[in-house]
Symmetry: C2
Subunit: 140 residues, 2 copies
Amino acid sequence: MGQKRCSSVASVVDTIAANCLAVRVRILSRDMTRLYDDALRPIGLRVTQLNVLVAVAKMQEAMPTEIGRHLHLDKSTLSRTLARMVEKGWLQEVEGDDARRRPVKLSRAGRNLIRDAFPLWQEAQREGKRIMVSRKLMHD
Amino acid sequence: MGQKRCSSVASVVDTIAANCLAVRVRILSRDMTRLYDDALRPIGLRVTQLNVLVAVAKMQEAMPTEIGRHLHLDKSTLSRTLARMVEKGWLQEVEGDDARRRPVKLSRAGRNLIRDAFPLWQEAQREGKRIMVSRKLMHD
DNA sequence: ACCCATTAGTTGCATATACAATTGAATGGC
DNA sequence: GCCATTCAATTGTATATGCAACTAATGGGT
C-alpha cells in the first residue's frame, strides 16, 4: 500500500498548470467567443453562426463536409448548425447533382444579416486585437 | 427595389474571412481540444476535466466561483462539470463554513488520475507545441 | 442486374458552454 | 429580531461540439 513519492502529483500539477497549451487556448477561445457573441447579440447572431455564414458566402454553393473541412468542425456538428440556420431562413438548401449531398447557399436574409453584422463584428474585432496583444499572441 | 452597392456584402465577407480573430482562435481551440481529448481518451478523461482537476489541486479547497474565475468559465457550467466529476469520484464535496459555498477538493482517485494523465498529457503537449509553432503562435 | 465498399449526412448520446431566472443563505440596516 | 439586499450555487433552456452507429445513395466489379 500507498507510500508514494511525495513530490509526484504536486509536481505534475505544477507542470501542467504552468505549461498546458490547451488551457490557455481554451480560455482564450471562451473569452473571444463571449466578446463576439456579446457584440452580435443585438441582431440575434452568434459568432459560430457568423463564421458559417461567411464560409458559405465565400463558397457560393457549400457542401456541409466542405464547410467542416474549412472550419475544422465535425460533420455532425454542422448537420445541426446548418439545420438551425436554414430554419431561421439565413441559408437555403440547394438541390445537388448527387442525392447524398445537401449543399446550401446564402439566402437574401443571410446576406442582409452579414451586412448588419459587420459594424458589430468590427467593434468586437478591435477589442479582440487588444486581448491578443495583451496576451502576447499578436503585436500591433 | 433595393439597388445596393454591389461590393458591400462581398467585401464584408472577404474582410471577415481574412481577418476574424474569433474564427482562428476557435479553430485552434477545436484542434487542441481534439488533440488532448484523443490523448486522454484511454483513461476516460477530457482536457476540460483535467484542467479542472489541476485547478482544484492547486487550490487545495476550491470554491466553484473561484475555479470559474481562474478558468474563465461561467458558474453554471462549473456547477454541472463539478457534479459530473464528483459523481465519478474524482472530486469530493467539502463542508464550507458558509452554507452557500460548496467547495470541493481532490479525492485520492482524482490524484491518481492526474498522475496517470501526465504521460498522455506530455505527448499531446508536444504535438500541441508543433501546431502552435506551425501557426506562428509560438516559436521553438 | 447484384453485391460490396465508399461516401454524405443524420441521429443517439454525452459533454461543454452561457444567459436568465430561481432558490437558499448570509448580512446589514433599522 | 425582521426585511431587503446581496451573494453562491442550481436549474431551465438553447447552442456547440464530437464520437459511434446508422441510413441512404453512388459507383465498381463481376
